[in-house]
């Protein structure tokens, strides 16, 4: 009895004076404010990583060395990968999780608000370490984002800075994932059973478990690298009884689930957007949930397909080939379900829907080329060529990034209470999809013809396609400034958005007014 009374008057319920200025953001424990921080951070990193890509494409515009020395070129390809994966795409999805998950499950906030703040504020120091490593003696690490030993053992102090940055990013991801999983499992409104959760929540639940499982594996890999570099261990040195390939096994045991970490929340977003603009419930909800879980399990069984050329015997070669081909089945189910959702719906094509349909079209190309690469013998020709570069940009850019644009246009009116400029947003979509394909489709041809990736200069037969890709990249890069303009314009002076925003919108977040109040669902709604 006593305890209950004490809880009722606990200081948490008392109104706290709002902090102002920088202290508000440094000390915020509000899920919406932290979500905003994540999204601003990730967009800044997206611009940084994108600028690096433009430098790379400028060098590759013509054969010969024009702007970049080979060592700087390698630093840029490495940091482009690290920054886009760990600085841009992952934090962006965490930002959406922060904003949306509590509102979608009827919770007042995340389960661990202070941990949430801590998780975000680990990111800026990590970004400073990564960017600062360019100024270390010898420059940033140039071993590729995969950091393969023993090349990474050769690198200068920039490599150590990257290792510490990865540790910080890893801790941030792990606390974020624990927070998200706990929120989903314990903070749902009464009546919202697991099988009533929106798909975005489901995909994030599976993603959170993947993160908790694999980030420590990555941390251990880079720690072994650190001790090999400085403390005389020989984990990856054959002369000391180690094995360079061990690093690849550990890295890809993390790395493959990692790419599903980057795509599952995207699947969730698409599964929210398409029903809304089809004015129809999601087709095959139960099979969507099963497919998400199946992808989560398969994620741990396919890492060897990144290593088909290290010299496996027939056994592992076949095992990883079959397991990888199986991934196509649950992924296909998702794709078919989205089309099933559109079937006999009442479709409109506002910017979120355009990006969602664009996602399906281009992600399909990424998916089927994944099947081509899964065939081990064919992969031997394509491994480490531009075919692979094209394939994963079709899944990561056209997949993850397009879903992030869809999500921004979809939920921004709810967050800000203002509508974005539809015409400009459609232009953003049109330019993005044209220039994206111009950049990356020709890379399939380059890869088939045998152009290796990560080279600053290339034989003459690859010149034409590289020129096309570079022009496309410039177009794609500068089109993203339009996105920035649309978002800023929306926040500053967009027209008033209604509470429901979209005609077909269903779900708890749309029952709130727009803009969503800072504290929502303090009294949980009841789901029937």
């Amino acid at each position: 009895m006593n305890t209950i009374q004490e809880m009722a008057v606990s200081p948490v319920d008392e109104p706290v004076e709002e902090r102002r200025g920088i202290m508000r953001w440094l000390t915020s424990t509000n899920h919406k404010e932290i979500g905003t921080l994540y999204l601003i951070f990730s967009f800044a990193m997206f611009l940084v990583g994108g600028s690096m890509a433009l430098c790379i494409r400028a060098e590759l515009f013509r054969p010969g060395l024009q702007f970049l020395r080979p060592e700087l070129f390698n630093q840029l390809t490495t940091m482009h990968g690290l920054i886009m994966v760990f600085g841009a795409v992952m934090p962006a999805f965490v930002g959406f999780a922060n904003w949306q998950l509590p509102m979608m499950i009827g919770a007042s906030d995340m389960a661990f608000p202070r941990l949430n703040n801590f998780g975000f504020w680990l990111l800026p120091p990590a970004a400073i370490l990564l960017m600062g490593s360019f100024f270390a003696p010898g420059g940033a690490t140039a071993a590729g984002w995969t950091l393969y030993a023993p090349l990474s053992v050769q690198m200068g102090p920039g490599m150590d800075m990257a290792i510490f940055a990865i540790h910080l990013l890893g801790i941030s991801s792990i606390v974020g994932a624990i927070n998200i999983a706990t929120t989903i499992l314990h903070r749902r409104a009464p009546g919202m059973t697991l099988m009533k959760m929106p798909m975005f929540v489901w995909t994030w639940l599976v993603t959170a478990f993947l993160l908790v499982a694999v980030m420590p594996v990555f941390a251990s890999a880079v720690t072994m690298l650190l001790t090999d570099r400085h403390f005389g261990t020989h984990f990856f040195n054959a002369a000391g009884g180690g094995d360079p390939v061990l690093f690849q096994h550990i890295f890809w045991f993390f790395g493959h689930p990692e790419v599903y970490i980057l795509i599952l929340p995207a699947f969730g977003i698409i599964s929210e957007v398409i029903p809304t603009f089809s004015r129809k419930p999601l087709f095959g909800y139960r099979s969507m949930v099963l497919a998400t879980c199946a992808i989560g399990v398969l994620a741990f069984l396919v890492w060897g397909h990144h290593m088909f050329t290290v010299g496996f015997g027939v056994g592992p070669e076949l095992f990883f080939m079959y397991a990888t081909m199986l991934v196509a089945v649950p992924t296909g189910v998702k794709l078919f379900n989205w089309i099933g959702t559109m079937w006999q719906g009442s479709l409109t094509f506002e910017a979120p829907m355009l990006f969602a349909v664009g996602f399906i079209l281009v992600f399909l190309v990424g998916g089927v080329t994944g099947v081509v690469l899964a065939v081990a013998a064919v992969d031997v020709q394509l491994q480490d060529t531009y075919y692979v570069v094209a394939h994963f940009h079709y899944t990561m850019v056209a997949g993850s990034l397009f879903s992030l644009f869809a999500a921004t246009y979809f939920w921004l009116p709810k967050w800000t209470g203002r509508m974005y400029d539809e015409t400009l947003a459609r232009w953003h979509f049109g330019l993005s999809i044209v220039f994206f394909n111009m950049t990356f489709f020709v890379m399939f041809f380059l890869g088939l013809a045998g152009m290796p990736r990560r080279i600053p200069d290339y034989p003459l037969q690859f010149a034409d396609f590289n020129m096309i890709a570079s022009i496309g990249a410039a177009g794609f890069g500068f089109s993203q400034l339009l996105f920035l303009y649309v978002v800023v314009k929306c926040v500053r002076r967009g027209t008033q958005a209604s509470g429901r925003v979209w005609e077909g919108a269903v779900g708890l977040e749309w029952t709130l007014p727009s803009p969503a109040p800072k504290h929502s669902f303090e009294i949980p709604p009841v789901i029937k």
Partner: protein, 379 residues
């Protein structure tokens, strides 16, 4: 006509796609020249055809849905949430398609991995940044490095046809013989990749992996290192000269003769005493060929991985220290390779003398081939 435009456009796109994916266009695999490469080529064509088919069907259905089920045509949405038969069908059909792909794919893996009953074995070693080929049955071995002049790379000269795909000493193999390659590396991971052979094998330091090929017709085949191996990764091509069996035997005989002459030359060099100028000018060539990528033309290096030689601690210190690090590599910095296996006594003596007396260094002393011979005997 306007209504037909999309169809015409689609047909044009399809035709140009088919033209692009022909072998000669540079947009498909290079023309296959071994049995495995043929197998991969056909397998890829088969899988790609299935994938293009799947894409066409799904795009068509999607575009139909986009065109047909629009709100603007005053449709109200049907509120169904699933339909069991289709949901089961689109699990089973993909599984069946995958099975159809898996059968030839499995055969190809078995064929690729069968390195038994080979006629000739060549050991291939990756170095930063060149290849070494050792014919194990013949006791012949040599290094193979990029021969494209720096001036072409830095755009000071026009680029020639085989830009970045030419080497000083290509690998020579006879056609029609099963060649087994044993692939390893000396420093970091490289990857030996010749597209026309369907061979890509990572070269892993401390481990030996094998692969094989049998070339159908004589010719010069070119490839590149396929695993990021440091700053000159883009500049270590592979060239294979496939010749008739008779030419191959003649080439082997030439190699043996050349080896004997080189050995006699080395003996003579060991006995001879060279002047500072002779050693420096010889050393400059060795430096340009082997050292310049890391230590740079002006000897300033790229610290910290590649230290400066100009006024460098080891380069200007006691001569024994310089000889030791050039011959055995650095125990502290794995980027500095051991050169005693790659260079002859005269070459080592020349390059060490060059380094100690260039870039403003003025040790004044010179290292003779016999000093290196002594160092080889007392490591």
């Amino acid at each position: 006509m306007i209504r037909k435009a999309p169809h015409l456009l689609a047909i044009a796109a399809l035709v140009s796609f088919c033209r692009l994916t022909r072998a000669q266009s540079g947009a498909n695999f290079q023309p296959p020249k071994t049995q495995i490469a043929h197998q991969i080529y056909d397998l890829h064509f088969f899988v790609q055809a299935i994938c293009v088919g799947i894409c066409v069907v799904i795009f068509a259905v999607l575009l139909y849905a986009i065109a047909r089920f629009r709100k603007s045509s005053r449709r109200t949405a049907m509120q169904f949430t699933g339909y069991k038969p289709v949901e089961i069908a689109w699990v089973i059909v993909p599984v069946l398609i995958l099975l159809v792909i898996a059968i030839p794919a499995t055969h190809a893996v078995f064929a690729m991995k069968d390195t038994s009953n080979s006629d000739i074995t060549v050991k291939i070693t990756g170095y930063q940044w060149q290849w070494r080929y050792d014919y194990l049955q013949e006791d012949i071995g040599f290094y193979s490095a990029l021969s494209t002049p720096r001036a072409q790379i830095e755009n000071r000269e026009a680029k020639e046809e085989n830009y970045l795909l030419e080497v000083d000493h290509p690998l020579v193999v006879p056609v029609g013989k099963k060649i087994r390659i044993l692939v390893t590396a000396n420093d970091v991971i490289h990857s030996w990749f010749v597209p026309a052979f369907g061979v890509k094998q990572d070269a892993i330091p401390g481990f030996i992996r094998d692969a094989w090929f049998r070339v159908d017709e004589p010719g010069v085949y070119r490839g590149q290192c396929a695993e990021l191996c440091g700053k000159e990764h883009g500049f270590m091509p592979i060239v294979v000269n496939a010749v008739s069996e008779r030419e191959f035997s003649a080439w082997i005989a030439d190699q043996h003769a050349a080896k004997q002459i080189a050995a006699q030359g080395a003996d003579a060099a060991g006995a001879k005493t060279y002047s500072l100028e002779e050693l420096k000018s010889g050393g400059e060539k060795i430096y340009t060929h082997n050292c310049i990528a890391c230590h740079q033309p002006n000897g300033q290096g790229l610290p910290p991985a590649f230290p400066a030689l100009a006024n460098g601690k080891t380069a200007t210190g006691p001569v024994a220290g310089t000889i030791h690090i050039v011959m055995n590599g650095s125990s502290k910095n794995p980027a500095m390779a051991a050169w005693k296996g790659q260079l002859s006594d005269l070459e080592l003596a020349s390059v060490i003398t060059f380094v100690r007396n260039s870039f403003g260094n003025s040790a004044g002393d010179l290292v003779e081939p016999k000093d290196i011979a002594t160092a080889r005997q007392n490591p």
